[in-house]
Amino acid sequence: MAVGKGANAGSTPTELLVSLGRNQSTKTLLKVIILALIAAAAVASRLFSVIRFESIIHEFDPWFNFRATKYLVANGFYQFWDWFDDRTWHPLGRVTGGTLYPGLMVTSGVIYHLLRFLTVPVDIRNICVLLAPAFSGLTAYAAYLLTNEMTTSSSAGLLAAAFMGITPGYISRSVAGSYDNEAIAIFLLVFTFFLWIKALKLGSVLWGALCALFYGYMVASWGGYAFITCLVPLHAFVLICMGRFSMRLYVAYTTWYALGTLASMQIPFVGFLPVRTSEHMPALGIFGFLQLVAFLEYVRSAVPSRQFQTFLYVGLGGIFGVGLLGLVGLTAGGYIAPWSGRFYSLWDTGYAKIHIPIIASVSEHQPTAWPAFFFDLNMLIWLFPAGVYMCFQKLEDEHVFIIVYALFGSYFAGVMVRLMLTLTPVVCVAAAIAASQLLDTYLQYNSPEVADDKEEESSDGAAKKASKQGALRSTSQPVVGIYNLLSKAFIAGAMTLFLLIFVQHCTWVTSNAYSSPSVVLASRMPDGSQHIIDDYREAYQWLRQNTKEDAKIMSWWDYGYQIGGMADRPTLVDNNTWNNTHIATVGKAMSSREEVAYPIMRQHEVDYVLVVFGGLLGYSGDDINKFLWMVRIAEGIWPDEVKERDFFTPRGEYKVDADASETMKNSLMYKMSYHNYASLFPPGQAQDRVRSARLPDQSPVLNSLEEAYTSENWIIRIYKVKDLDNFGRDHAAAASFERGHKKKKAIKKRGPRVLRVE
């Protein structure tokens, strides 16, 4: 062991370490310093948006989490737990306290109260903004711990920590301001895995219980906990199949499952799901299976092998059959919920598009494009298979975990963009194992002594196993090391270059792709200075200050959380998307004629309608571009009234100019987007800069709505729903009557011009 340590110290990247790293306490100190620096780098690289813009909550979901956190801080935990929110999903409301994962909010709340206790006057917003970067430092540390369980080389752990700290795959969900569940969940994921490995290695109830505790925290924080719920049983199952059942596994798994399930059931949103849904059944099944195996082990030790064979076939087969039948029966009987739609879409990527358009409409639920892997992981993506291969070489229990994790993580990451996040930790760990192996081998300054290496090898259990495959061993596991200084320098130099490029790439990706708050848009002035386009907040602030406190705002669900968070007004639908029909209702109102939409809006007491329009600025994420999803979702509920085909031109094109289909032109969304827009341009030059279409001079006429506010760059347009007409006419009649009066004057003024246009 002592020799191994000495070798490790020599193999750490810097030469400084070689001289200093001989004694234990210096090494510990250096590790602590390096880890602290990695954590600092992880935090620092996530602060682009704060420096460039301000301390602001990003995007959509974080605004809800922020609002919930403010509620928690203001009203205390029990109020939060029982929170019924009547300001969302009007008129249904939402049992918010029971339908969210409270881990994130409670974490920030605890930090807030702790700081307040120390009389540090910190704004809750700043805690929320900086929570994700702070936790990324912890994630790096957790990756260090997890990797250290895999290999004896401590440089692997440090490399894994560094990779974890700056890899864009993780940064994408944890920049400052990205106050989402993933902000803390990835740390919990990695740390729970570390505790699981520790528990498994030691067969310790203490570590198993700790694992269950953090699993409970994870369940409280993110819906992705199902990943742990499935991966740990899978790992156990694979181990049993490999004939590696041991009391360590039994103790670790049963402790984790029993305590972890109890812990997870404390969250109202999870409740009895762990015993009632198919997603959780593997964990329960493996729990039962382990009991069986343990029992069999006992029986085998007690009875002769001949009888044991019979017992095995009859007993095991019978119980397995009964268990399976029971599961099928309970599922058929409705006691256990079958796989949910979101889960199906993991197996069949086309499933959601056909059956649940609302899931497919979210960009992060799309299948991953291949370049995304390189974009998010850069060089780690080619180090990753090498690392997994090295796990095969050692193939102890914990390496099996990495292999299983790598396999499933890769699959899921390929299916859904957002699951790249769950793949990233294992990529970092595996890549760090591979990279450290390379560096350990090539960064030995002294030429290796044969005896030294043999000793090291013999101390390494995994190496023995690998030595059975002689051919492979000679290529991958060097017997003695590298003698030639040139090849050492070359590989070390190349590796350094790759690492530098990696850092550069991560910084570039973080800075360019993941650091935009998306609430605030940045553009450049002609003189190169930054110009901030702040239309969202302008409009939300206007709503907040100048409308009634309980004015209901109808908008597409994307903006629900932002309206709730920034404008503080009740909304019809939001990003929670728990009620598909309600969303479809809004979709129907947006995609129908005014005469159809108006009664819907009246029934839902809508006061204002908010649309996002990017035509003036060329902002492509606007509602007209999302419009087809609204149509599809509405069509899912009202196939007779809303038809996607009608929104295309006869030639099958999606157009907004003069050639647009009649249904399109008469839809509320089209009218609201282009109302009055042409008057901004000289005649004949009205242009939509997103869809680069020339628009007709005559803006669409709105009868039942009136323009209430339009932001500076027209990104947000707010319309007020007119009250019923005083004379009982419909709005079209009333409006045309009013226009009738004005028309004469208008014609008198510029008669010839109107004629020419017509």
């Binding site: 813009f53 540090v120 702040d534 200050q545 100048n546």
Partner: protein, 495 residues
Amino acid sequence: MKFTGIAAACLSLLSTACANTSAAGSASSKVVLPSTFKPPQVFNNANLVHIISLEKNYVKESINVLIENASPDPQDEYFLPFTSEQMEKIGGFEVKDRKNSGIVGFTIDAVEFDPSRQLDSDIQFYRIKLPAPLSPKDQQTLGISFYYLHALKPLPASIEQTDKQYLTYAFSAYCHSAYPTLKQKTEIKLPSADVPDYTKIAGNGETKEFPIKQGSKLTYGPFPEVPAGASSPATVRYEFNKPVTHVSQLERDVEVSHWGGNVAFEERYTLFHYGAKLSSQFSRVKWAQSQYFSPQTFALKEMKFVLGAGSKDAYFTDVIGNVSTSRFRVTKREAVLELKPRYPIFGDWKYPFTVGWNADSSNYLKKSGSKFLLKVPFIEGPKQAEGVEYEHVDVRVVLPEGAEAVNFYTTAPETSIIEHSVDIVRTYLDTVGRTVLTIKARNLVDELRDRELIVSYEYSTAAALRKPFVIFTSTMTVFVGMWLLSKLDVSFSTK
């Protein structure tokens, strides 16, 4: 520097001022009188000129009156009547001697009536106590000035976005007085000559009809003798195509840091435009066009804060974060913070916001031994051509932890200050908490921007060293505690 000289003078002044305030309990102590009270008819107004200035979005009135003691005894209490509605809106009440500015020491008190009894008239009074009693037949010229807030009304109350805004103001052609007035006139100064409506009253002498309109000025009078309490209601409606900005609440924090050598200012405004509402909804097209063709509008679209020299790190935020449309220019002599609200503020629209900035404490703080003297402006709101009015102003001066013997003196009108208190606030790892002086004032206007607040306090070196010491010891305790814990063996195995 000039400030040093003032500092010495102020120190001596402070002791007297503070003695005054502490004796009176509160600066705005009200005199409670029985409801049957009538001011004794001991004065005559020999000559009175009443100037109503409507050039800004609040009303400034000044009454220059030559008073004469008509009683056989020396008198020192002059009463000025107001309606209870006016009493709510009045602010910045000040009295000077017009002839001799050396005469100071007018004490002004709002007279309150015993609330237990029903009042038969709506009249209330301000009592002006002359510095020296006026002997019989003697005369003195008083210059009385005050402001009315929120006294203007738009007419029509709602207009189109591109229309001009007109305001009305109701007043009396005769100046309200508790004494007979021998000769008087009322002048109304308006922002422009566009005055479509005003009350006309019958004239006397060679003038047939009042008022006489000269450009943007209306003059009622001169009138012959008028008995006490006479009134002649009149209104004027005039163009005021500028925002009518009303700050219902201004919270101003001044935080002094000795360690950082910094004075941090933060002001939170609850701003409201009480001018004409929009008769139809806001149109962005029209707004964009009017920005090019006729930029003059009654919507508030920009504010300019002129801050003291050396101000830095200015910020402008509202509930949902930083407002990116602000500019901060620093020159040697001043720093200007130009703000554009997120949206133009029309009548009936609200816009609460926060601004803040830092400044070097050497610009505001003077030291002599362990005594410190802080001199800051009482209010520093936006400098707008059309003016800004403040209904409630809370000035909070946060002094360092352990500051003692806090006294203050302000040149802001004494009648506007409602109350003041010294409390403790804990922030930034404080142990005993910081001393906070809170001054509440009401009905101020932006013309009073040059008024100062001077705070003196004592702050010892020991108090300054308290925090580093506390932090050092507590961190040490944590480390030692951790070290002791790590020495503890908590495992079950005995070995």
